[in-house]
Subunit: 377 residues, 2 copies
């Protein structure tokens, strides 16, 4: 399924001019391409593999690549870009995403502004498939922004300078590697440190031996004893940690409620948090939520999550998977509304396909391009 980026970009470039992508032109197994005429929505998509700059280690596993599917939604000569990213632990893959996207009949829609109707349809076609759904949602939002020629943050009434700084993620590794990575990340104003595999204090001490910037901590469900978890959080607070993400397994709801009640730092739900109804459910279980477009099925539901979480006085982190600048820039459009951002997915790869949101002085910096604000590299 691996794709040559240069060939792909070229092909997509042709598609964006309104021509059909010919499967044979790609020299690959035919990939479903839905074509419409004039005033119908036309969806095209292609698998791609992101090459990680560093091996990525979380509590459960390590990996060097992340599969994504890049989508395009074309209407009346304009093209919206979207992306599905499938870290393996979430259960989606090139195969499942392509299968899902092939099932969609987007040509039934002749008005892209009917976003609720279109996205309700996409959501109804099959359960799950959240990254696949997000890839359509992002492309549709990008398309709408291009039709009215405005960045999404402007259509949503937001002020671009309210974007937060973004953290840069330091994965679990040996102290010398952690120290080297932390030094490399000197341009970031905050770091997100992965914990949960027994080397917690060693990890934090390694980072702290190099920098005094604030630290976000992501335990990835790594702690199972709530008392030990609370002890560790108390220690982490003294080390300048801001919040603790998914400290305990998603299914230990009662323990999490206890921990949140006693914790001196905010606790955030990540692996436990998926769709909109979870926000209400987690009110007294976590202090906040980590919203990722690949979990929320895209921007449409993510915006609702933000509104509901705010109404319930919950904190919001906007996160991402390993992604190109496409999905990261889409998430960044919403970031003026959140407390914290961990939108570094595009900075962890060597073969980005898009240019979009930039990190300047550690801060997410939106541009004036319409829609999600990306262009092909």
């Amino acid at each position: 399924m691996k794709t040559n980026r240069r060939d792909f970009v070229k092909t997509v470039g042709v598609a964006s001019l309104g021509a059909l992508v010919s499967p044979t032109a790609m020299g690959k197994t035919p990939i479903a391409i839905k074509n419409g005429k004039g005033s119908k929505l036309k969806l095209t998509f292609y698998p791609y593999d992101l090459q990680l700059t560093h091996t990525f280690t979380v509590a459960e596993m390590s990996r060097n690549t992340t599969p994504v599917v890049l989508t395009q939604l074309e209407y009346d000569g304009l093209v919206g870009y979207g992306e599905a990213s499938m870290p393996p632990y979430l259960g989606e893959s090139h195969k499942t995403v392509l299968k899902f996207l092939n099932k969609l009949d987007m040509e039934q829609f002749t008005d892209p502004f009917r976003m609720e109707e279109i996205l309700d349809y996409v959501d109804s076609v099959e359960q799950g498939n959240r990254a696949a759904k997000a890839s359509v949602d992002i492309a549709l939002h990008d398309l709408i922004g291009k039709i009215v020629n405005q960045p999404l943050y402007r259509l949503w009434g937001l002020s671009p300078e309210k974007t937060p700084v973004t953290s840069f993620t330091i994965g679990i590794d040996k102290p010398d590697v952690v120290i080297a990575k932390t030094k490399e990340a000197a341009r970031f104003k905050v770091l997100k440190v992965k914990l949960g595999r027994g080397s917690d204090k060693e990890m934090i001490n390694s980072v702290r031996s190099v920098t005094d910037v604030p630290i976000y901590v992501d335990v990835n469900q790594g702690w199972t004893d709530k008392y030990k978890a609370l002890d560790m959080i108390n220690w982490l607070k003294e080390q300048g940690v801001i919040f603790v993400e998914q400290p305990m397994p998603a299914n230990q709801m009662d323990d999490m409620a206890w921990l949140t009640q006693h914790s001196p730092l905010p606790t955030l739900a990540d692996e436990a948090f998926h769709r909109l109804p979870d926000v209400v459910k987690f009110k007294d279980v976590y202090s906040g939520i980590n919203i990722k477009l690949m979990k929320s099925t895209g921007l449409w539901e993510a915006r609702k999550m933000i509104t509901v979480a705010r109404a319930m006085d919950m904190k919001i982190l906007m996160g991402c998977m390993t992604e190109t600048s496409c999905a990261v820039s889409a998430a960044a459009q919403l970031s003026p509304l959140v407390d914290w951002a961990d939108l570094d997915g595009n900075l962890l790869i060597d073969n980005d396909v898009y240019e979009g949101v930039k990190v300047i002085d550690g801060k997410l910096t939106l541009n004036n391009r319409p829609g999600i604000g990306v262009k092909k590299i």
Copy 2:
């Protein structure tokens, strides 16, 4: 404070071309007019009195007119229309609205797309003044729609045919008057009947002597005994009533929670419900909420209310005050998202200033005009 409509419309017509409204040209006491140049937001406004076709009676009082203030927000040659409506029981008046609007410095804003920033500023200038704030919010939304040349419902991704039918309100009166009004309202597919002044069964029986259409009931806090309230609701259900709005006084929260738990019909908060935080507070107290732009401070917060109420499985009625087609058309833009609509405020007056949303076969029917979809009559 009464205004000659023809003079006003003419004057506003001039202002909409970008010229300043000259107080002397109106032949009235000078009204504050904020003027800006080119790329600043310019707010103008004028008081107006709506003439009610029928005397309007609710549990507390009767009246023949409703004071409103009509606003305009101008930017770069385009004009957004807004409106504040001030039924006396909500505490705002021509005087308070003009005073509030005079305090606003809208010229500090050079980008109307920064809606969150602008509306946060308007909300921060003084507490309360919700109708006055709504008049700016509606004008700003109308302006944005006109800048991108799209109706708001399209910018929000909604399908226009999903608007509900609207009810027509039958006020408390003697049986012969109620019967006459009900006959006049034959084109509506649902009626909203005011109760709560001791003549409840007589009111319903009068309506039912003429029509079999579904009935919404609005008690306007008129019942104080929860047991009697439940008995009445059980009877109302047999009469084809769909929901009961504000059955008990806003401050009887415990009684309302009990009543909602036992009621066979949904209960809706109206007088008890004002701003966004109330939605979460009322989760187990009412089955749903009546959103009115004059209470929510406009469309910005009303949209959030809808999102939060949906996440909490609450029902939504979109209501209005006695208003011109300006504020009613603004509310109608959101109505594809709600369960029920009571958007008849413009149908209860003799001197509307705008043409906008229409009621066709009882159903709210949106048009293709940009923004809130109104034009001057």
